[in-house]
Symmetry: none
Subunit: 205 residues, 4 copies
Amino acid sequence: MAQKTEQARTKSGAMQSRRAELLEISARLFAEQGVRATTVRHIADAAGILSGSLYHHFSSKEAIVDEVLREFLDGLFATYKEIVRQNAGPRDALERLVRASFQAIHDSRDQVAIYQDEIKHLQGIPRFDYLELRNREFRDMWIEVLEAGQASGAFRADLDPNLTYRFMRDTVWVAVRWYRPGGKVSQEEIADQYLRIVLDGLADD
Amino acid sequence: MAQKTEQARTKSGAMQSRRAELLEISARLFAEQGVRATTVRHIADAAGILSGSLYHHFSSKEAIVDEVLREFLDGLFATYKEIVRQNAGPRDALERLVRASFQAIHDSRDQVAIYQDEIKHLQGIPRFDYLELRNREFRDMWIEVLEAGQASGAFRADLDPNLTYRFMRDTVWVAVRWYRPGGKVSQEEIADQYLRIVLDGLADD
Amino acid sequence: MAQKTEQARTKSGAMQSRRAELLEISARLFAEQGVRATTVRHIADAAGILSGSLYHHFSSKEAIVDEVLREFLDGLFATYKEIVRQNAGPRDALERLVRASFQAIHDSRDQVAIYQDEIKHLQGIPRFDYLELRNREFRDMWIEVLEAGQASGAFRADLDPNLTYRFMRDTVWVAVRWYRPGGKVSQEEIADQYLRIVLDGLADD
Amino acid sequence: MAQKTEQARTKSGAMQSRRAELLEISARLFAEQGVRATTVRHIADAAGILSGSLYHHFSSKEAIVDEVLREFLDGLFATYKEIVRQNAGPRDALERLVRASFQAIHDSRDQVAIYQDEIKHLQGIPRFDYLELRNREFRDMWIEVLEAGQASGAFRADLDPNLTYRFMRDTVWVAVRWYRPGGKVSQEEIADQYLRIVLDGLADD
DNA sequence: TATGAATGAGAATTCATTCAT
DNA sequence: AATGAATGAATTCTCATTCAT
């Protein structure tokens, strides 16, 4: 969006914005129909060009997926890293990680959906090795927070941190399947309720 | 099951078992690689026949997916229905629904994985209308239990039942992505921890 | 039809009637959908058996077509031959050829339709060489009658017999496309009208 | 035709001519071997490209058949319409309809043959509904002429117009089966003889 | 940057036919 | 005579990619 203000200033600027536009279109289609089911012709049609012309911007369909995911994960990593760096205490940190994740679902629905739907099938392709790398980094940050919380007494000690991490991660990301921006429930409210359940439980005690 | 006794291994028994075998193979490949990425040749190769021969048993690839999912969902529906019918009180019912779901993940990993991965892309295909039907039935059962629990004071009243239902459903089913039968943590232990978090919360209070 | 009276007398009698039944079913399907579009499974389904079982009766699909056509053409040849043999004068002979043809359309609609639709694509297959043979025999008989009529002054002499033959032949046989037995117009009435048009034009008056 | 002038052989002209070329090749093969028996590979081979490349130009084999027939029928309709519009009297009109039809056989042999051979099997496919529509329009024009002729005394009144129409239509079109352009008998001579037979029979004399 | 024509590998599906039982 | 499972070749169609213009 931001780059559209300076859109046609220079040749490279124009190209940049065209790239960004094509990535956005691709991401939307990938999220809606799945990467495999989205043909380069779908993308080209949506962009108003012929499929062959896409190859002036990207070297392959895979490269488009790559760029979409890489950009998204780099941004998310920076966000998470900043939260952990601030070191605000385990409970606060956990809350912020959750809220940041729901924010990402809100801001980058397509990218989150693609990540969720495709990671299983992208694992093992060398080009996408960074997915597992990022995965590990994310996991380490969550577990760091969870273990710090168990050590400090903020979180119950009878839970396996690894299992709890998976629970948290899945709980949050899977919401992309039904969350609709602009719907009845805002992403902040969803985050609130999720945190209430996760931190305090369903049981009325 | 019944037809697997010696006496029943007659003509129709043999046919049944061949179909069942092919469905099992298909389910495994669909779960591993995705429906789209699994070609009928993959399935046929894994079954030791030629791809054309599959069409002696099933009318199309879609029909195989259909049969795999339909069988699974019918079984799950019966299980859920029985739990709700027993009317053991909201908290017990919720616990049993969760445990039954983890049991399904254990018993029918492939089917659950297929369901999770493909439902988004199967929605809207008339042949798979029953997916949404079952979805609604499942939701109604969960929400019935959750609302009964809020009414009886077993569950906190400050949570939106719909949101809570989604939370429960998603967190349970998404576990199929990483659960491995025969791994370090049994499905019963996972269910235990999940229930502890969900019912009592992460916070140490 | 006739053989159905003695249908199950002997084993070979039963087989004969089964063959006849299968030929009848095949002819109907071939006529309705075309030979190519009719699969052996269609035939088998219509006969209430499995497609493989057809091969106990016929060595191939082609053999079925062959038998259907050969039987029909042999019968028609005998009919034509008898008309020409009676030597009742050119105009009478022509009339009888036309009437016999409409009778054949009435009695053997399926066979006539198959012949009309498929002859073009069967020409050149050695097994069906007899089609061209019969064709030539039919043509020779018609032309014999036509030329006799021109010689005797019964028919106008300013028309090319070959062209006239084709005109007559086409005129008659193509009616199979729309003639429905039991419909408003009987095959005798159609023959009458056709003859009136054709003869009063052909006749030297 | 127009675009074949030098100036018009630009982009769209080239594309037009490529499409037209492929349609011509397809029509020839369809007419020779039947639509069903003509594979897209046959067409592609004859065009010197790979079969998949055909789909750059047409969305399916059916679409090719469609385009071939639609173009032909639209042209024929315009020709017939013009003849009827000129209102030259029934006998003249009939003569012109016959001559126009033989001209169509001469100019568009392949298309007429395809129409004759395939209409039976295309009826009922929604995409080809226009075939029946055109059929009705053609019939109405012929019958209009025939009835006007009976009313004016130009044609005998003792013949059923409907039956007579079928007679005319069938005898004319079926000639495509044996007419060879450049053969011994020109299409004008054939039309002459056909008209002599038909009219001197129809004429009220 | 874009077009338009083509490639080539592979997808699902069809179908006549075979054969052990 | 019939079944049921399979074959194997062919068919229509898809789609990422290339490349001359």
